[in-house]
Symmetry: C2
DNA sequence: CTGAAAGCGCTTACAG
DNA sequence: CTGAAAGCGCTTACAG
């Protein structure tokens, strides 16, 4: 029996007899033989490996997306190479180069915080390696999976209005990042839809941190006409808001409403518990893999497709004025 | 110029002239040439890939360890294949098989919750693939990185005693898992060191969940002689304890002390904030990679080495009776 | 200092 | 239904 026959038997080639297959498989099992996927990749041109590039795994959001990706990938016979760039442009480029060298069948990526140059991703396109972005996506015509920050923020702001809050402020994330800009625009649109004039004083530019939530809240409270609610673009910042309100002895939600965005691990456990928009992170990972898999199988026809994941409102204590 | 020369020039082979190297490198850059690592792996017998097997990435602990591993791995020229087993034995076996097929240079693994059979890991040893365990380790003579749960728990219990708490209960994790058994024994030893008799009624077997923390606390409070403090093996359970104490209107830390273990994301942000032992997760990942790397480089001489990471106490509000 | 040749372990078109 | 042969793209011992 030749190597060719063994190879065909193990991959269930239709022209091999059932008897031969049985013998080969039994023997392979007995000898604990595991085909060398490196050799098979070299010959077949398919590695069955995808690369996943993320800013950092030390963050529940990305961990959860990874979970969504690897689970599905494994079911479809793919292994996952992971590369963290630590929010550094240089490491992001290095990660892409590693993936290219490894001849991955496709790449799923989320941009580092300070990536402004996309040359490394254009290189990927030039080599016809399927590429999908999620969450932090570039302004390029490349398939991606994003959260519907606009409508989610519209919903949250409307909810605060419906609960009877009158002056609703916004603490944003860095507005040059699309994700946070969308949330700001959703807030803005909800005010307009309710004929509430946008007051520039009620907008504080935060930077995704507890500290900026505290500082923003302090500044907003010192206004001649302070707000009585805040819609905030991210939950760590929301935590800072809750901390500062506690320090300032302002009762949430009776006197002041807070609505976040992300539904982080801790959001359920703050006092009071935080109303927020759940990002459906696992679903996001799954959608990213499904999209990549479709592109790998069908070629680049869906090059400009964009999957929009709807965030789910999670109403907890911090926004329920009407209960009082 | 032949492929051989190009190969040597790109890998800085000492016998190649500086001039040739310069030409080759410039040309490679211009043509955007990236060596095929698949082919080089096949020929050289080294893939420069390590496999990391974890129960789930949807958990801050493992995400953080991954962070520690990938960072160092990348610096040492390794890529990381990741495989989640979702706490399922079958997927754990599948992950190991995938790693073997991919001919990884080494494996870092943490056991699934219900792995009792180690045949797949013995297979790895038989093939002489370097293997390191972390956190959840099997009873095998295989290198590993673990947290010093015994001494950490001793320290925490002693701290509660020093703060003046008199009857200190323990809510454990599943005691058949070494990690949690160590913590129970540390608690036990601290009592003994202080001549406090172990009261079996003060020990509740939890299962790493908010619910078990609440239920355990309820039962402990109903005791004829209820405790006035709890050392708990894990922070989610601690969260349940805090919730139940709030419901039962018992003030922490004045009337009742709570000390956890893990230092999860949320532990800093509970009310009151939770005193706990930090597991140094990133350090754990780094140590695991360093150990693996040493074994890859020096062969299996350190086959029974065990790295013990010291947990760091993080004293917050929930255990500071003396402040009152 | 560089080249020619073999070979890593598979897969696959071609032949029978 | 199975075999013989070529080849994927590198690396490396050997030769010069």
């Amino acid at each position: 029996m030749t190597a060719a026959t063994v190879s065909r038997a193990l991959s269930d080639h239709p022209e091999i007899s059932a008897k031969t297959k049985a013998i080969v498989k039994e023997t392979a099992q007995r000898l604990d033989y595991k085909a060398n996927r490196i050799a098979s990749s070299l010959r077949s041109g398919k590695t069955n490996v995808i690369g996943v590039l993320i800013p950092t795994a030390e963050n529940a959001f990305f961990g959860s997306v990874i979970h969504g990706i690897t689970n599905l990938a494994s079911k479809h016979g793919y292994s996952v190479l992971i590369h963290e760039c630590d929010e550094l442009y240089e490491l992001e480029v290095k990660g892409i180069q590693t993936f290219i060298g490894a001849r991955v069948d496709g790449i799923i990526a989320s941009l580092s915080r300070n990536t402004l140059d996309y040359e490394h991703f254009l290189d990927v396109k030039r080599r016809n390696i399927p590429l999908v972005f999620f969450d932090r996506v570039p302004n390029l015509d490349i398939p991606s999976v994003v959260i519907d920050g606009f409508n989610g923020s519209f919903w949250a702001t409307q909810h605060l209005i419906d609960q009877g809050y009158k002056r609703i402020a916004h603490i944003s994330g860095p507005l040059y990042i699309n994700t946070f800009n969308d949330r700001f625009r959703g807030y803005e649109a909800a005010l307009k839809a309710n004929n509430i004039a946008l007051d520039k004083n009620l907008i504080y530019n935060g930077n995704i941190s507890i500290e900026s939530g505290m500082e923003g809240t302090r500044q907003l409270l010192e206004l001649p006409e302070p707000p009585d609610a805040i819609f905030v673009a991210e939950d760590f910042t929301a935590l800072g808001i809750l901390k500062q309100l506690k320090i300032s002895k302002i009762n949430v939600p009776e006197q002041f409403g807070v609505f976040g965005f992300c539904n982080d691990m801790f959001s359920e456990h703050t006092t009071p518990s935080l109303s927020t928009m759940d990002q459906q992170t696992v679903l996001m990972g799954q959608e990213a893999f499904k999209l990549l898999n479709r592109i790998i199988e069908n070629g680049n026809e869906e090059s400009s497709s964009r999957i929009v994941v709807t965030p789910l409102p999670v109403i907890r204590e911090s926004s329920l004025k009407k209960n009082y």
